[in-house]
């Protein structure tokens, strides 16, 4: 896979505040890439620099092989962005919002109608197309946001906390559409999120703190490095658990034993075959990865 975004030693300061500090990472074409960090870690600044909205102080940002300088219009046709806050024109209808955005990419007339039809089916827009944005629910707005961001068939879709505040059902349906788009159109997804279970499905993750990468890798690599696995064992006496000489915690119907990794879990189970009749091994979660890598608890906004 080719690199579609290449960030190389990029820095950006606001006065004395270093928002992004010597940041480097790669995003591959068609990849689902997650960019994590607490608020103020430098995620939005990096996104704004990738879009050409902000200038960098140092380093290089390449998108689709071109250096970003804010004026290259061809690059802007390759990127779609769903911003953290919905930036739709609230007094205009869903249809008008999409039509106006499409026209800024020179998609007009029949081309627009065809594309609108396609997106309308994908995001169920028909029933709400005449309604002003101000009358829509949060989930409906997000659907329109995403439809509008991909109206020009971009190669990269940047999603800045797209599902914050949405109910699980809506989040699930949005991800279903996005995953289909990835598979069918080889769309590269660049995601920032506070929901670690969303990031867990990524191909690659970069965790940012104070403008610098503090951890990166595939979800598995990160879990292996930063999160402990857990063995749950059920229907046994506490006396037997004590004999294992591992720290444990009582849970409903059993005990929870924290192990370093899967190897330690396997060794433990093999050594105590008679005891481990009813058990499960749970891999470390992305929440643990984030907590251990950054030292910060995540806030659900």
């Amino acid at each position: 896979m080719n690199n579609i975004i290449k960030i190389d030693k990029v820095s950006k300061s606001y006065g004395s505040l270093k928002a992004v500090n010597n940041l480097s990472f790669l995003v591959k074409e068609g990849e689902f890439f997650s960019f994590l960090g607490i608020n103020g870690a430098g995620k939005s600044t990096t996104i704004n620099m990738i879009c050409g909205e902000l200038s960098k102080d140092f380093g290089s940002i390449e998108v689709c092989g071109e250096e970003v300088d804010g004026n290259n219009t061809s690059l802007k046709e390759k990127i779609g962005v769903v911003f953290q806050d919905s930036l739709l024109d609230k007094s205009l209808s869903v249809y008008d919002n999409l039509k106006i955005k499409a026209s800024l990419y020179n998609i007009t007339g029949k081309d627009f109608l065809d594309r609108y039809e396609e997106l309308s089916k994908l995001f169920n827009l028909k029933e709400i197309e005449k309604q002003p944005i101000s009358k829509l629910s949060g989930g409906q707005r997000r659907r329109v946001d995403i439809a509008r961001a991909i109206i020009h068939n971009p190669s990269i879709l940047i999603l800045d906390e797209p599902t914050t505040g949405l109910d699980p059902g809506t989040r699930k349906s949005i991800w279903k559409v996005l995953n289909n788009l990835r598979k069918e159109k080889n769309l590269t997804i660049f995601l920032t999120t506070h929901y670690m279970e969303e990031a867990a499905d990524s191909d690659y993750i970069v965790i940012l703190d104070k403008g610098t990468t503090i951890a990166e890798g595939t979800p598995l690599e990160l879990k292996n490095k930063y999160a402990s696995d857990t063995v749950y064992i059920y229907n046994v006496d506490e006396e037997n658990i004590k004999k294992l000489d591992k720290s444990y915690k009582k849970v409903r119907d059993g005990f929870k034993i924290i192990v370093k990794d899967l190897k330690e879990a396997t060794d433990l189970i093999i050594k105590n075959k008679d005891l481990f009749k009813d058990y499960e091994v749970i891999k470390g979660k992305m929440d643990d990865v984030f907590l251990n890598a950054t030292g910060y608890e995540l806030e659900d906004e």
Binding site: N48, E53, T73, V81, L87, I100, S103, Y105
Partner: protein
């Protein structure tokens, strides 16, 4: 070009569909209308009657045409500027609500974006003011006027010029604003203050000499005066037809800001056009310069 047209259409649609923004822009003209209906028309009527020579038998039509001309010119002079300012606040609102980010990520130049705000402000302002003008002409028709088609066309020409002036002035002033607080502050100051300094509530001639001098250096003053001249010229023509002395008509012109002194000389109508056009062009050049040299942060 297509992108400019699309974005301009978007701005106009947002302005007319955003009820808050649309009605805010009409506050000053509405206040002025209420003031005329409840109070100012009576004051002007009395001052016109007192100014007529003793024994002169004025008709209601002449009196109403003078008061109507004063109302029309005041209303249009104010709304050309205040409507332009409020409709141009969309440029600031887009920054405050970050909508501009969504526009900036599209393949459209910053200059085209700036130009779209300018063109849409001009069109929206002209639509509102032209509607107000039609209402004013209907009002004048029913309450008494001597206006002919030439007078009306002159008023529409003034309207175009003053709308362009208001658009260019507001574009320069609003360019660097970026918060909702600034939007409210500018909106309030313009709405409340412009009616006074352009002589819509009280003729400039009734202000103190010092203030008159300061106001004579403001280009908008000549826009108001152009409207006064064209809205009242038919009434002055009628006064001549009724053989009223030229000195008296001249006195009316001075009292109602049809004649304004700049550096102790009366400014001719052509010079007024030149001043307003000149400043409009200057503001447009400044606005283009600001757009061209706007840096990414």
């Amino acid at each position: 070009m297509n992108k400019l047209i699309s974005l301009t259409k978007r701005n106009i649609k947002v302005y007319f569909s955003d009820k808050k923004m649309f009605f805010t822009s009409l506050i000053t003209p509405i206040i002025l209308l209420v003031l005329y209906v409840t109070f100012l028309s009576g004051v002007f009527k009395d001052s016109f009657i007192n100014a007529f020579p003793e024994g002169f038998k004025y008709t209601d039509k002449l009196l109403n045409s003078l008061v109507g001309g004063q109302l029309i010119s005041s209303l249009l002079a104010v709304s050309c500027i205040t409507v332009a300012f409020t409709s141009n606040l969309l440029m600031v609102q887009d920054k405050a609500e970050k909508t501009i980010k969504d526009i900036n990520i599209t393949p459209i130049s910053k200059f085209t974006i700036g130009l779209s705000y300018f063109v849409s402000t001009f069109i929206s302002t002209f639509i509102v003011n032209f509607t107000v003008t039609i209402v004013c002409f209907i009002y004048a028709h029913f309450f008494g006027t001597y206006m002919n088609i030439n007078d009306m066309l002159n008023i529409v020409l003034d309207l175009l010029l003053l709308t362009l002036f208001g658009t260019s002035l507001s574009s320069v002033i609003n360019f660097n604003l970026s918060t909702q607080g600034q939007v409210s502050a500018v909106g309030t100051i313009i709405s409340a203050g412009y009616g006074f300094i352009c002589g819509a509530y009280m003729p400039i001639s009734s202000f103190g000499k010092g203030l008159q001098k300061v106001i004579s250096f403001l280009p908008g003053t000549y826009g108001t005066s152009l409207l006064r001249n064209h809205a009242l010229s038919s009434s002055f023509r009628e006064m001549r037809n009724q053989h009223l002395p030229e000195e008296l008509i001249d006195g009316f012109k001075k009292a109602f800001d049809c004649k304004i002194k700049l550096l102790n000389n009366y400014v001719s109508i052509n010079s007024m056009y030149l001043i307003v056009t000149g400043f409009t062009l200057l503001f447009i050049v400044i606005f283009i310069f600001m757009n061209k040299h706007k840096k990414r942060s």
